[in-house]
Structure formats: C-alpha cells, structure tokens
Symmetry: C2
Subunit: 349 residues, 2 copies
Amino acid sequence: MSYFRPAIRNMAGYVPGEQPQQGKFIKLNTNENPYPPSSAVTAAIQNVLGEGLRRYPDPWGDAFRIRAADVLGVPPDWILCGNGSDDILTIVTRALVGEGQQLRLPTPSYVLYRTLAEIQGADCEEVPFNRDWTLPEQFAVGSQKLRLVFLPNPNSPSGTIIPPEQILELANRLNCPLLVDEAYVDFADTNCLQLVGQNEKIMVSRTMSKSYALAGLRFGFIVAQPQVISELAKVKDSYNCDALAIAGATAAIDDQAWQTKNRDRVIATRCHLTEQMSQLGFDAARSQANFVWFTHPTEAVQPIYAQLKQNRVLVRYMNFPDWGDGLRISVGTDQQIDACLNLIKDLVP
Amino acid sequence: MSYFRPAIRNMAGYVPGEQPQQGKFIKLNTNENPYPPSSAVTAAIQNVLGEGLRRYPDPWGDAFRIRAADVLGVPPDWILCGNGSDDILTIVTRALVGEGQQLRLPTPSYVLYRTLAEIQGADCEEVPFNRDWTLPEQFAVGSQKLRLVFLPNPNSPSGTIIPPEQILELANRLNCPLLVDEAYVDFADTNCLQLVGQNEKIMVSRTMSKSYALAGLRFGFIVAQPQVISELAKVKDSYNCDALAIAGATAAIDDQAWQTKNRDRVIATRCHLTEQMSQLGFDAARSQANFVWFTHPTEAVQPIYAQLKQNRVLVRYMNFPDWGDGLRISVGTDQQIDACLNLIKDLVP
C-alpha cells in the first residue's frame, strides 16, 4: 500500500509479550500482578453496567482525578487520564515531537518509545545505560533538535532506579521536557512526584496495570503542571477512557490498603526470587520493580528460557545487540516462583 | 509552554457536546441511544471481572473480530478494533497524513476530522456540501498533496446519505484512500461494506456507541482490505481495547435481535419527530441516522435551543459560517421527543 506514510511502511511494529490465549501457563513474562485486583473494583464497575454504558463517559475522568489527587497529594488539574499509560506516552510524543525532530531514550529499556518516534517520523536517539545501569553524561546534553526525553524509572528490563535528585539535575540541564515513566514505581523505595512542582519540564506517568492488577482495564495517567496538562489534553481522543475503566480505576486507587498489602507481598517474593537465583549462580540487577533481570556469567540463558517454556513457564528472554542477553522474570506468587526456580535448578550445573 | 509543537499550541482543541454530570436533563444533544444496551453485554462483562482484569487483553480483540466478521460477512482479518471509532479515525490519520500534507472533509460535518488534521500539522481542505447535501464535483478531484478523504455517511448534522454507487465512483477517481465513517449507518437503508472488496482505497469505520447503546464502553472498528489493516495496526496502541470492552462489544454484536428491535424503534420515533417538526414549520433534512437536522425558514432557532435548555431539554444548536444554523435533535424515546415537541410548540408562532 503505497498510500501509507514512508515512516509507517518502514516500521516493523511493536510486538507485545507472548499472551497465550489458551492452555495453562505460569505467566512470568509481561509483569502482570499475580493477585486479582481489589474487590472494590468489581463493585464499582458493576454499578456502571446497563444504563451507565449508554451515555458518553466524562471526557476528563474527574472522579478519578479528584480521588487520585487526594491520594498523591497533587491538585486534580495536574492529572490527565489515559487509556493505559501507553496512551499517555502516545499523547506526549504527538504533542512534543514533530517529523524530523528528535526523541531520546536510554537502552536497554521499553521498546515502545522507539515505536512512538518512528510513527511520528522522528529521529530516535538511543543512549546506552552504563554497565551498572547508571546514566552516562551524554544523556543530559540538550540540542536544538531534541524535543523529548523518556526515562523509565524503575527501568525495564533492569528494574533499577535513578535517584530523584539526579533526575531533577538532568531536567535542569536539558532544554526539553523529560517524561519519567513510573509504571513500576509502586514497588520502589522512592518516586519523582515531588519533582513535578519544581520544574515544569518534568512529567511523571503512572499505570494501574502493574501495582493495581488492572492490566486488562487499560488505565494510566500523567502528572504535570496544569499548563502542560491543558496542551496535552488537546491531543487526546475526547473520550479516551471508558466509563468502566474510570469507575474501576477510581475504586482501585481509593483502596490503598489493598495496594500496600499487594506491594508488600510482591516485594517479599522478589527478594526470595533474587536470593535463590543468586545461589544458582545468576547475577541479578537490584530491582525496584515487580520483575528481576538475571544474567549468567558462564551459562547461556536462551536455552533456559526455551526449556521453561516447554514446561509451560513463560519468562521473557531478551537479547540486546552490543549489550548482551538475559532473563526478565516477573514476580508471581511464591508458588509460581518456586515452580520456576525448581525447573531452573535442573537446568544449570 | 514553548516546548509544544506549534501545531498543538495553535489549536483550540475539540469541545465535546455538553455532558451535564448532574441534574436531570432530557439529553437529545449527543446522539446517544435512548435505550439501555442488550443484557447480554452486562453478562459478558461480569464474566471478565476480577481475575480477568489482571492480565493484558488480547491485542487484536479476536473474539470480537471473529463474531463481527460472521455478522458482517467479511473475513476477520479485514477488521481492526479501536477504542471507539475516534481511535480508528486517529489511527487512519496518523498512518496516512504527514506534516504539510492534506486531508479533505466535507462541511458541515464532524469537527473532529479537522482536529485530527491539526494535530498532524496537516492542511485541512473543507469542501462545502451542496445545499441539498449532495457532494460538489471538486470533492472527487485528487492532488499530489491530498492523502486522505473523510466522508461521514450518514453525515452529521444532516443525517443524509450519499448512495454507495456514488461513493465507489468517488474512490475510483481519487488518488488517495477514502474513509467512509459509518457511525450512524445502522439507522440507514444502505451501507458501503460491499465496496471495501471492490477498491482497496475504501475503508469503512463503525462504532458501537450509537446503534448498540454503548457510548460509555468506547468500542469501534474499521473494515478494510487485510494489507491495509496490517499497516494501520502498526499505529495503534498495542492494547488499545480493554478486556471489558472487547467482551461487551462481542456480546452486543452477537445480539442482532436486540439491534433490529432497537433500530426499528428509533426509526419510528425519528419519523414521528420529523413529521411533527414539519407541521411546526421547520425544514427537516432527510435523516438516515438517529438524529434530525432542523432549520426554520423564518424563525431564529438559537433562542429555541436556549429555551429548551432552560427547561432541561438539551438539543444541539449548530451555527456554520457561510452556511447557516439549525437544531440537531437526537432521537430519544417517544416520551422524551414528545416532551421536547411540547416545549417547541409554545416557542414558534
């Protein structure tokens, strides 16, 4: 189809993690939460069914903004809701980066950032992390062409974090906005929410997919200064969040007791997974997320991934050119992780 | 915020129709269906709640594609699902129209088309309908710069239709793709689905918001040839449709008995509304949609809109420069329409 823009024709398109629609797998490959969401979510969604589906939803999702503002300690008009945080990342990219302009991201990280640049017909500058997952000096160097910097924090696949004070310094040095993608931050010791008020170039995105166990609901949001929110809002679809997602996400963020309990369980299992894998000879990045990145100093890990899959345990094998490969294992329940560990024990000497 | 693209800074942004979140209004302003959706939708969504929200949804929404393909008589890989048909229109625009290129639309019609062009930094060529809502000759003239043509059919606000044979001829003359936006087509006597197989430049978009009473669910789709679908898919968010929307939309399109009954009721009320308004001296466009466009040869209609609103009946007042103004009244229940008509009777001589 020669009618499509060259930028689109030349793209491969983003390939999501394996989502087997049938068969019983232990899924430790897409960082889903192993526990079902708060029961308050079910109740809130049931309230909307029937007559509540007939009408258009609130275009701003104010019920969520008001509740989230209270929980997060920011004003409601600092929040914009999205159809998953992917929608938020899309909106930010379209609002800031034109054809031929530049978007920066660290690697290895979330490959969607590159896809978003490609769709815009923009240049994508990939800056490799240092070997210890810190950022090199050049990540903070601005240029005329550079219009947006993405920083996943915690990062994937490493789960590692850049401290907020370094991120503030980074934003102060850059001459363009910086999106801190905090998809996994509820499993971390720190976050960048406080920085948004200190520099209007800093935006923080969040998702309900991971720490609220709502990957199937598609709900994310961004926190930024209100003059930023009002520009971003021009780019979003008018009714980007449906009535069920708004109701469910509002109930979820309201149930902080559930969230704290869930977080604590996931972190305990993450600790167990990391220790056991270290005893098996793997090197583990210091994860602040609901997954851990494992490499091995001597053994090939690709066959381990394949053997696990044959035994119906899905983990993520990732191979980054000029960087190396590893296994990213999502934190499941203790039982799921033990099943995975038992298989791995038989696969390494 | 000087960081935003000039195209975004200069935009006003799309303003959705009034959606009062409180107070009891008779809402005849945003073309929502007056009847609640099929009860099968509620049942299907309840099946997904809890555990079903924890995981990412099927990125392709295959359950819907397979069922819809059967109902519509096209192969499943001719269908792409969207988060409302607005998402579909966004995807098509981003895939086809680059900065400085051109998008064509007729006026008066859906103002979102213009917004989408503005976000892309593209030129928007607005071609006025003839006074009888037929298309002028120039609508079919191609150019190097023109990359996409939008044609809402039935159109809004008129509710009128361009016959499929004229649309095929239009597509054959154009040198770029043509998107036929069939948001309201289930209330019409004809549609363009058969044309998709006859010219790969023809794409047809549909929504579940109107004829399936699911505006709150956000679900739409596009029918196009598979080589077109695979390019469009590169531009969509990976998980653009949530698990609840996929389940609900699948149940809705499966219940064609509900749809037929609903359609018949809406058309009967549309006929009643049109007749009564004609007796009150209004001119009515020949609507094939779930709303009717009324003008008046002598009376000002803006005060009628304002008086109705004061009496808690919302209709849409629209004023198009160089064209004129009118009232677009959505087809509600018979009771709602009679309440509206009774008020109007006292407002015109």
